[in-house]
Amino acid sequence: MHLFLFLTFALIAVGCAVNLLRQRHPISSALSLIGVMGSLAVLYLLLGAEFIAAIQVIVYAGAIMVLFLFVIMLLNAGEEARTQRSKLARVLGLPLAGALLAQLSFVVWRQLGGGPEVEFGGFVGSTEALGRALFREYVLPFEVTSVLILVAIVGAVVLARKEVR
């Protein structure tokens, strides 16, 4: 059952990702990205990370993608025009992408191959455990990250502010 769900949602994720690149309209691409993030959330859930799954949907699929969509609608971006693609890209593109993928998976496999086996449905990462880890062991990195984000927000507000004369 878990394997079936994993295969289904992995397929959906890959399908949405391919669709994202294929679609010519920005809105269609944005919605495909939501599909990718939604199925990623299900994969997290299958690995037992409930909290991460929920946050993935709330923050990425919910908040960030709404902003994407909002901006696309506000700018009223039309369909993108297809340019004559270069012949070199057509010939070398796919093999090169395949080589990169193979290389990455080889490195990941070599690095993590000997680690503990990941199990479907083994619910270990409870919200309490995650909260303890964040606020006890990793409290300094956590707080520093939040300050970093705050600085980014303040910077954006300052940059976007109207000049008052």
């Binding site: 809105i27 409930e50 929920a54 949907v57 908040a63 969509l69 609608m73 619910f123």
Partner: protein, 396 residues
């Protein structure tokens, strides 16, 4: 009974109740608004217009289903489906009562109890905005687009306040599971004051409750925050171009969201299915009293009504109310249905509040809406979270 069959039966029962509530919520809303304004409201279809919802459904189903020529067909059709399915999905985690036993089968009055029930609800709500935003964009109509954009901005802004209003409750209950949150509110202070989160120490969540309530009105696009469909400026906002069943789906989504938000307010702040007074004070007879009062009122007004359909229907409903009251005298019935009664009563109060506010308040202006959300509601929510966290830490 096997788990699968039980789940299907429960899902069907809950869906049936939800859809029936949706239908009759409209009837109640039209009636209450009408009486606030000194009108009769729906009165022709069936006694007291009670069959009006079904007439409306038939009307909407048989209307011509138009798609504007320059609309993006795929997203135009997808948007209402998205809106209504997400709105109906959120009811899956709401706990309506404790353990109940029907025909010898023991089960909880809840479809599923997730460890992250509350986060699941927020995730579903945060996706709900896509239905409206896409509908506005795909219609290829400037009013619809403006409505869709307004709604996305409004929902993003008020989602923050909604979440902040709830954080205080989470600090008190120390759980994200809605069932455990309700369980944390059992019991009474001094023998009469319920330990609902609205009253619970060390820091009663009154402020959090008000922030949640205000944000909930904005999240569901209801008056006084119904800017996305402000008819005086935007024709009908995001659903201007929708007709027939697709329009009905947006309507259903709005009402389903109202019901979810009301149920959530009950679960988080008003103790879910726990009665407002302990059994020692005889609160278990409150349903009987309510039914008796209802029956009495129906009989009294039935006397004054013109003979025929009007009077007969009053008397029939009076008898039904009286029978319901008698049924609640039996301990077995009481044990099963008392929690459901209290849950329905509290949620019903919030639904009535929606209608009441609609009949009372005018609409905000768009800049007022944004400055209220960001400059007032958001800081108040943050302050409430900080104080609650401090009090919980001090109380140990």
């Amino acid at each position: 009974m096997p788990f699968f069959l039980l789940s299907v039966v429960k899902a069907l029962v809950v869906l049936g109740i939800l859809l029936l509530t949706l239908l009759y919520m409209q009837w109640v809303e039209r009636k209450v608004i009408a009486h606030i304004q000194g009108r009769w409201g729906p009165h022709r279809v069936g006694p007291h217009g009670l069959l009006q919802p079904f007439a409306d459904t038939v009307k909407l189903l048989t209307k011509e289903d138009l798609t504007p020529p320059h609309a993006n067909k795929f997203f135009f059709v997808l948007a209402p489906f998205l809106a209504v399915s997400l709105a109906l999905l959120s009811v899956a985690v709401i706990p309506f009562g404790g353990e109940i036993e029907v025909f010898g089968v023991k089960t909880t009055a809840q479809l599923t109890d997730l460890n992250i029930g509350l986060l699941f609800l927020f995730a579903v709500t945060s996706l709900g905005v896509y239905g409206i935003a896409l509908a506005g964009w795909a219609s290829n109509n400037k009013y619809a687009l403006l409505g869709g954009l307004r709604s996305s901005a409004q929902m993003i802004s008020y989602e923050l306040s909604l979440t902040l209003g709830v954080v205080g409750v989470l600090l008190l209950a120390e759980s994200l599971s809605l069932r455990q949150i309700v369980d944390a509110q059992a019991g009474y202070y001094f023998g009469f004051l319920p330990r609902w989160h609205l009253f619970q120490g060390p820091w009663p969540q009154v402020v959090g409750f008000l922030v949640y309530l205000a944000a909930a009105f904005a999240e569901t696009n209801r008056i006084p925050f119904d800017l996305p469909e402000a008819e005086t400026e935007l024709v009908a906002g995001f659903h201007t171009e929708y007709s027939s069943m697709k329009f009905a789906m947006f309507f259903m989504a709005e009402y389903a969201n109202m019901i979810t938000v009301s149920c959530l307010a009950t679960v988080l702040f008003l103790g879910g299915w726990h009665p407002p007074l302990p059994q020692s004070l005889g609160i278990q007879f409150a349903p009987v009293l309510v039914a008796a009062l209802g029956a009495g009122m129906l009989f009294y007004h039935g006397q004054g009504a013109p003979a025929g359909k009007q009077r007969l229907s009053m008397q029939v409903f009076g008898v039904a109310a009286a029978l319901m009251g008698l049924a609640f005298l039996a301990p077995a019935v009481r044990a099963t249905f008392s929690p459901l009664f209290w849950f329905a009563a509290k949620s019903g109060f919030f639904l009535f509040l929606y209608i009441w506010v609609r009949g009372t308040l005018p609409r905000f202006r768009y800049d007022q809406l944004m400055s209220f959300g960001w400059k007032f509601l958001f800081p108040v929510g943050v302050a409430n979270v900080l104080i609650t966290a401090l009090m919980v830490a001090l109380a140990g």
